[in-house]
Every structure is written in C-alpha cells, then in structure tokens.
Amino acid sequence: MRRVLAALGFFLICLCCSIGCTSGDNCSSGNHCECSGGDQCFLGCDGDGCDQSCHNMGTLCGTTCGDDCRSQCHDVGTTCSQSCGSRCGLECSHVPTCGVLCGDNCLLKCHDTSACSAQVGPNSEVTCTSVDTCRVKCTGSCIVHCADTGCNITCGETAPATECEHGRYACGGC
C-alpha cells in the first residue's frame, strides 16, 4: 500500500510541478515568441525588438512587429505573412507563398517557396533562393539577390530595377 501511495504521490507531484514550471510565451520587447501547431496563428509584439517564430501551421502564419525585430516563418500550409518596421531581419521558407512588408534597412531571406512577395523600405536587402516567383517592390534604394527565373524587381510602383550583374538587382544605383 505504501508503494501505491508513493507512486500516486510522485505522479501528482510531477503534475503539480509541471503546472508551476510552465513558462508563458512572452511576445514583448527583446523576447522570443513562438507559435506552432494548429491551423493559423498571428504573433504580435508589444514594442520593438521581438524575436518571433511561426511555423508548422496548417494554413496561415503571421508575425507583426515594430522596429529591430527578427522573424522566422516556415513550414506553413498556405501563406506566411510578415510585417515589420525598421532594421528587421526576416526569413520565410518552405511555404507556398510569402508576403512581406517591411520598412527601411530590412534584411529579408526568402527561400524554398513558390512565391515571395515583398515590399521593402530604403537600404534594404532581399535574397530569393529556390523561389519560383520573386516579386519585390523597393520604396527606396535596395539590393535584391535573385538568381532564379521569375525575378520581378521594381523601384517604386513600376520602374524596373537595374540588373547590376547576373542575379543582382538594385534600386538607387549598384
């Protein structure tokens, strides 16, 4: 009987500990915030400097953030959505469509997707690798690395970017 009660007690203590030790996801400035599993999830950030990760979702994954954020989105059924302010580092991969909006000094990596659609601010750099359609609109000077076919880089609404060398496009001078 003692053994039964001891085993029961141990089980309950473990369960209680697991309750007390559960850590919350803290989508606030400077913290890591993650969402995975389920059908769709959208991560926000209370302030700037969030480190966001949204992945392995059935349909949609999205991250929104202020400035100085990092965001990863991958392995999603339909679309990854990423929006960010200034000085952000974004990565989107292994999803049919990436949709990205970010401000100045944005560093974006799109890879292993069917379509990557991005609008980036001045002094940004975009890299498309293993992407069928890489559509980038730069609202200021930018560099876009796109060695695949299907590169569509514009400066502003319609002006085509300059192809500085094979696979390297620029707005505002090479």
Binding site: L5, L12, I19, G38, C41, G44, G47, S83, G99, R135
Partner: protein, 215 residues
Amino acid sequence: MVAPASSFRVFFRRALLTLACFVLIGSASRRAHAQSSIRVPGQRPGYSFELEPHVLFTPFEAPDNPSGDGYGLGVRGTLELLPEGFIPKLNDSVGLGFGLDWIHYDGLRGRGYCQGWAYSPATPGYPDGVPVCVETSAHSSSYVFVPVVMQWNFWLHRNWSVFGEPGLALSHRSGGDFGVSPVFAAGGRFHFNDSVALTLRLGYPSFSLGVSFLF
C-alpha cells in the same frame, strides 16, 4: 508583455492548485496506511450515481487556437456500471461519466488573430497582392465541453479513492466550430462520509476541483 494583474492571477491559481495537491498527498500518506481497503472488494460507499459540480482550471491551450490558460465551471455525472471492477482481487469499480464544462480562455497578448491587413505586391494567384497581417489581437474565447469517459475507480481507504478517466469530449467554441477532443485524467477523492467527497481531477483538457455527492 503579460500584465501584472494577470500574472498574479495565474500565479495564485497555480499556487492554490499545487497546495491542494500537497494537502491531498500529505493527508493520504499519513492516514491511509493503517486502514487500507484496496484488497477488500466491496468495502466502500454504496452508490449508483455520482453527481459532481466543480470549478475548472486548465494550463492547456484551447483545442484549436493559441489561448493561454482557462478557467470555468462544470458538472460531471457518473453511473456505476461494474461495481466489482476489472480486477477481482482489488477493490475497484467502473463507471460511465458524462458532463458539461464551460471554460473561458483569456487569450494571450501578442498571440491570436489578425485584425488589420495590408497587401504586398501582386504575384501569380494573388492578383491584388498577398495579404499581410499588420495588426494582431489577443483573442479571448469560451468553450463548452461535453465529455464522455470511462471512470475506473480504486477504493484505497475508507476516506480515499482514486480514479483514471479516458474518454472523448465534444467541444464547441462560442461563435465557432464544433470539434472532438481527447479526455484523460487522474483524480482522487477525499470522502467526508459515505455520501460526500472532495474530488480533484488532473488531466486534459482541464483540471477540476469539486464536491461529489454519491446517491
């Protein structure tokens, strides 16, 4: 960032539950040894139906969206099906439990649903541009669960019994969809007398603390 009041509430709930666990364990360890009834089949309160209103708490996410923890109210009814249980030499019994639980999830700040969209440049398949979320919102939600479980009881002592409960629950989010969730729990009762017991249940989708009335 989680608000201080919310953090305190979560901490308080967890502390209360942990305290309840230790009180149950401590009391069981001290008293149960001398008057064990686990090897005496039939030595337990006689009843055919258990009615158990309870309060609920869950540290788990809602079934289909990131929600944070939740709390609520519910009731469980259990019909005794096998008074002698599955193991002849043990004082066990088996019942069929069904219930109705309402759980409210506050939602997580920074995780939830999109409430503002903009569009990145058009691509094949998205002639108007790819929709990009630019504003998110925490999303509170309420669920109703209708669990149906097998309750396997072990009558350890005059004052103590424990049980395991595997089963399924139909779930419904207010204003949303229906779904089916697994249910599994381990629980214990402290019997004040042959008719009334304090019942704690730990498991998924929620924990409960209630009072059982045995009829």
